[in-house]
């Protein structure tokens, strides 16, 4: 066991389906905070955390201004804002330009999370049809975080996981059904 301090997840097209296979594994026994960037079309959409709340017994919430990261919580990047982690383990938001056509961007979350959590971070790239997340995952690996990528062969959309494996590589490439359980074991032990 490595005493991981956070799990960050980046997901794009096909995301709801994929998250619905992972989040049910995150019950009260998982203390490690989970932070999710899910790409959305609409910058004003704010239903996502409600939808995800129905998938798990753990609280899912949109990140708020100055919010400090707490255990046993699943955080969602609000639409239209980049989500970053600060050195004091609080969140910050930014309206800077899109990265890889995305805001929130997975790269922005992963790079800032890697800076703060270093080898105490697990980063996960799931299904998606763009290139966001691969640079972020590379940074996570450079700082010795654990990188998990959904198997492109069985992902809803293979572009994003394929790109992540090409650019960053991965410690584990797993099918979606294995990821939830594996994350729990990484944090809680088998």
């Amino acid at each position: 066991m490595n005493n991981y301090e956070a799990i960050v997840i980046g997901v794009s097209a096909g995301g709801l389906h994929a998250l619905n296979r992972i989040l049910p594994h995150f019950d009260q026994s998982l203390k490690t905070p989970v932070i999710i960037v899910q790409h959305r079309q609409d910058e004003h959409e704010n239903m996502l955390s409600n939808l995800l709340n129905n998938m798990t017994t753990t609280q899912v919430k949109d990140v708020e201004f100055n919010e400090v990261i707490k255990p046993q919580t699943i955080y969602v990047a609000p639409s239209g804002y980049h989500l970053q982690i600060e050195a004091d383990k609080s969140f910050s938001l930014s309206r800077d330009p899109k990265v890889e056509y995305s805001r929130p961007s997975i790269d922005v979350l992963f790079e800032s999370a890697a800076d703060v959590f270093k080898n105490k971070l697990i980063a996960v790239i799931l299904t998606g049809a763009n290139y966001d997340g691969s640079n972020g995952l590379k940074k996570v690996r450079e700082l010795r975080g654990l990188a998990i990528v959904e198997n492109p062969a069985t992902a809803g959309f293979s572009t994003m996981p394929e790109r992540a494996i090409t650019i960053a590589g991965a410690d584990h490439v797993l099918s979606i059904d294995k990821i939830g359980q594996y994350l729990k074991e990484c944090c809680n032990g088998p």
């Binding site: 804002y81 938001l93 700082l143």
Partner: protein, 273 residues
């Protein structure tokens, strides 16, 4: 030192230097945001490492302008979050009518799109002629664009939609002239606006304001600077003065939390108790 620690050291060094050479303190900004922006600036200057910016700061003429431009790259819009303007119109405009003169401070106005938005709203409510809008930013390059009030015509389609969604009464095109591929906002708007340089990190309060607008600026500050700015705003507001923040910002847990009350916590509109 490992590469990560080296980069952090380079970042600290450049921020120190900017403070000493230019008098701009970015150390109280969100570290994650400022790091990203400085990395982007370094790339744009063809520098592999942040530290390669150091000689530019020390020896290159006008590098400050380029640096500040790189530090204020936020995306701004006219009538951004149109629903906020609707709530503002409903809850705040009736109160503003009471005053013989309305003083408004738009802090961190960037390139001015939101300043013109508010001026148009006031105009349509018959209040612009009683209003004086002070629009400030620390970036002179942005202020120059804001002062001119000239924007790419291609953006007007989106702005027009926002304007109508915000409850605009006519057509946005009533307020600008088209020349070639640009739109220039009309004199009757600009003559009520004073654009000036102000740095919230070091400069003092602006007195006797009825309304302060500061949207999506505080998200870039750490808690220390946020509290400085909140206090600055409180000191600048008249009794019952109104503070309008960005749609993800709030005064909760700040040092002025007990001094203002939420008129609309969803639209982030607060008022001095």
């Amino acid at each position: 030192m490992n590469p990560h620690d080296i980069e952090e050291f380079e970042l600290d060094t450049i921020l120190d230097l900017i403070d000493k050479c230019y008098g701009y303190n970015f150390k109280d900004y969100s570290r994650a945001s400022i790091k990203r922006r400085i990395q982007n600036l370094a790339s744009a200057c063809n520098c592999e490492h942040i530290s390669e910016l150091i000689p530019k700061v020390l020896y290159q003429d006008n590098f400050l302008d380029k640096f500040l431009k790189g530090m204020s790259v936020t995306v701004t819009d006219m009538f951004r979050d149109p629903w906020v303007f609707k709530i503002f119109k409903e809850k705040i405009i009736p109160q503003l009518r009471i005053h013989p003169q309305i003083n408004i401070w738009h802090a961190g106005c960037a390139t001015g799109e939101e300043v013109y938005s508010m001026a148009i709203l006031l105009k349509e409510e018959g209040l612009l002629k009683y209003s004086r809008i002070y629009a400030t930013d620390f970036n002179n390059h942005s202020l120059d664009i804001a002062k001119k009030g000239i924007y790419p015509l291609e953006k007007m389609q989106r702005y027009s939609k926002n304007y109508l969604d915000a409850g605009g009464k006519y057509s946005l095109s009533e307020y600008y002239d088209v020349k070639y591929d640009v739109a220039k906002f009309s004199r009757e708007l600009t003559e009520r606006i004073t654009f000036s340089h102000h740095n919230m990190g070091v400069d003092q309060a602006f007195g006797e304001m009825n309304l302060i607008i500061c949207r999506n600026v505080l998200i870039y500050f750490n808690k220390t600077l946020q509290n400085r700015v909140f206090t600055l705003f409180y000191d600048s507001l008249m009794p019952r003065g109104v503070l309008l923040l960005g749609d993800k910002e709030s005064i909760d847990y700040s040092e002025i939390n007990s001094k203002l009350t939420a008129v609309s916590s969803k639209a982030r509109i607060y008022q001095v108790r």
